[in-house]
């Protein structure tokens, strides 16, 4: 019988495959759900010692009604394996994005170039060079910003 942990792991893996074409994550990640559908990722380190744990792992993303929205760190973990829905942006755009601004995009042009499937998922991973900048949500010709305030360039 599969545990809840295995079920969540499979669910996340399926979402990553469907949304971003991620077939395999190259690190042995486990997931746990905390709070309002917030997903945390941690490496299974086989620690047998008993401690009162304050926290383990990092915030990976949130399961929204319309898909999985990755955090900046979630995008770094799976971005290198993503085969679709990755929008390449310039350094200038990356700086605007990190200031918390939405990005104006010609999505007709980007659909083919960035292998976008906006019908199935409206979340895209933002990438500049080898940097991953989290997820944005496509709305019209805009990519809506989700960079948390404490990570923005002010």
């Amino acid at each position: 019988m599969k545990s809840d942990k295995d079920e969540l792991r499979n669910h996340i893996k399926n979402m990553l495959r469907e949304q971003f074409g991620v077939e395999e994550i190259d690190i042995d990640l486990n997931f746990k759900e905390m709070g309002k559908r917030r997903i945390y990722a941690y490496t299974n380190c086989g620690l047998e010692l008993k401690f009162r744990r304050v926290s383990q792992g990092i915030y990976f993303g949130t399961i929204e009604g319309d898909g999985l929205r990755l955090s900046i760190e979630g995008s770094f973990l799976v971005g290198p394996m993503a085969k679709k829905n990755v929008v390449e942006i310039s350094r200038y755009e990356a700086e605007r994005w990190m200031m918390g601004e939405d990005l104006e995009r010609d999505l007709e042009r980007d659909l083919e170039r960035d292998n976008l499937e906006v019908k199935n998922s409206r979340y895209v991973i933002l990438k500049s060079g080898s940097y991953f900048l989290g997820c944005g949500r496509i709305k019209g010709n805009k990519i809506i910003n989700f960079v948390p305030k404490n990570r923005r360039i002010l």
Binding site: Y42, L47, R53, S128
Partner: protein
């Protein structure tokens, strides 16, 4: 004709006026003019590239457009940075967690710890997490780090930095470090970057000079001796324990290592890194310490133009 006071003399009298007790104490440890000069000089800014997220090449290329960078000789992924018009904290590299602002000498303990992916590591006083995230990058997120701190506000900063650096293999605990002695011979490596009087930090903030007093040093020394014994107990035979502080007082450094050596089978190993340092002090205020203590690294501010630092690499035979 009155003598013209040199800059160093002026600085010395400035330092003396802020805290005469400190001045008298430290003149026994380093009475050179250079020591005073560098203690009062603003600290050079430095950072470390977080290899969990990116390789250095692209980051260095991007940052070099806006900053003057100089590689830190003892840390492959560490750089001194000279800000021009922009601040490092205003870069996307900083906000994405691709780089971590960290004082150059404080990069030494994690290097000396000699970690390998898959190991079980205890970082006994981990907050704010600079060394924890450095260790995680050397482990490539494989294995396990127990990152502990005793105070809740400090734990929050630690968790935030682990998140920013993408560390997935850390378990954060909030315990009194002394209680780790009960996990006997369980850890491959232990880092004890001990709570200290923060003298090395004077270059960052003069408040550490103002608040320094010998009673606090004595209290800290007692706590550090209890912590180092617990750390050594938790270490597996054949394992490595790094004891470090950002202070230069003998009571908080050599005397603490001596307390461990005199009550255990611990051995000191030399740290071979391209860093200018002086040997550990083996005689202070009439008290002689074990000669092995010479193998510890004592870094004074003028040695590398960094903050003052002390590092001991301790081996458990087995």
């Amino acid at each position: 004709m009155p003598e013209i006071e040199s800059d160093t003399q002026k600085l010395t009298s400035e330092l003396y006026n802020i805290n005469p007790e400190f001045f008298e104490r430290y003149s026994k440890i380093d009475s050179s003019e250079k020591f005073i000069e560098f203690m009062l000089k603003p600290l050079r800014q430095s950072f470390r590239i977080n290899r969990l997220k990116a390789e250095p090449k692209e980051i260095i290329k991007n940052l070099s457009r806006e900053f003057e960078l100089e590689r830190i000789p003892w840390c492959e992924e560490g750089y001194f940075v000279f800000e021009k018009s922009k601040r490092l904290t205003k870069t996307i590299e900083h906000q994405l967690g691709l780089i971590f602002s960290q004082e150059a000498s404080s990069m030494i303990p994690a290097i000396a710890l000699d970690v390998k992916p898959g190991m079980l590591i205890l970082d006994m006083a981990a907050s704010p997490g600079a060394k924890t995230t450095q260790i995680a990058s050397y482990m490539q997120n494989r294995g396990c780090i127990v990152a502990n701190d005793v105070k809740y506000p400090r734990i929050n900063i630690l968790i935030s930095n682990l998140q920013k650096c993408g560390v997935t293999n850390a378990v954060v605990t909030m315990m009194d470090g002394r209680s780790f002695g009960r996990y006997e011979e369980k850890f491959d490596r232990v880092l004890l970057d001990a709570p200290c009087s923060n003298i090395g930090m004077i270059r960052k903030n003069f408040k550490y000079l103002k608040i320094w007093n010998i009673r606090e040093v004595e209290g800290l020394s007692k706590l550090q001796k209890q912590l180092i014994r617990a750390a050594y107990k938790a270490l597996k035979p054949g394992g490595v324990l790094i004891y470090s502080t950002c202070t230069l007082d003998v009571k908080e450094n050599e005397e603490v290592v001596e307390a461990l050596l005199s009550t255990s089978d611990a051995e000191i190993e030399e740290i071979n890194l391209p860093v200018k340092a002086r040997p550990g002090i083996t005689k202070f205020e009439g008290v002689k310490f074990n000669k092995e203590i010479r193998r510890c690294l004592r870094i004074h501010p003028q040695d590398n133009d960094t903050e003052g630092f002390f590092v001991a690499k301790i081996l458990k035979p087995g």
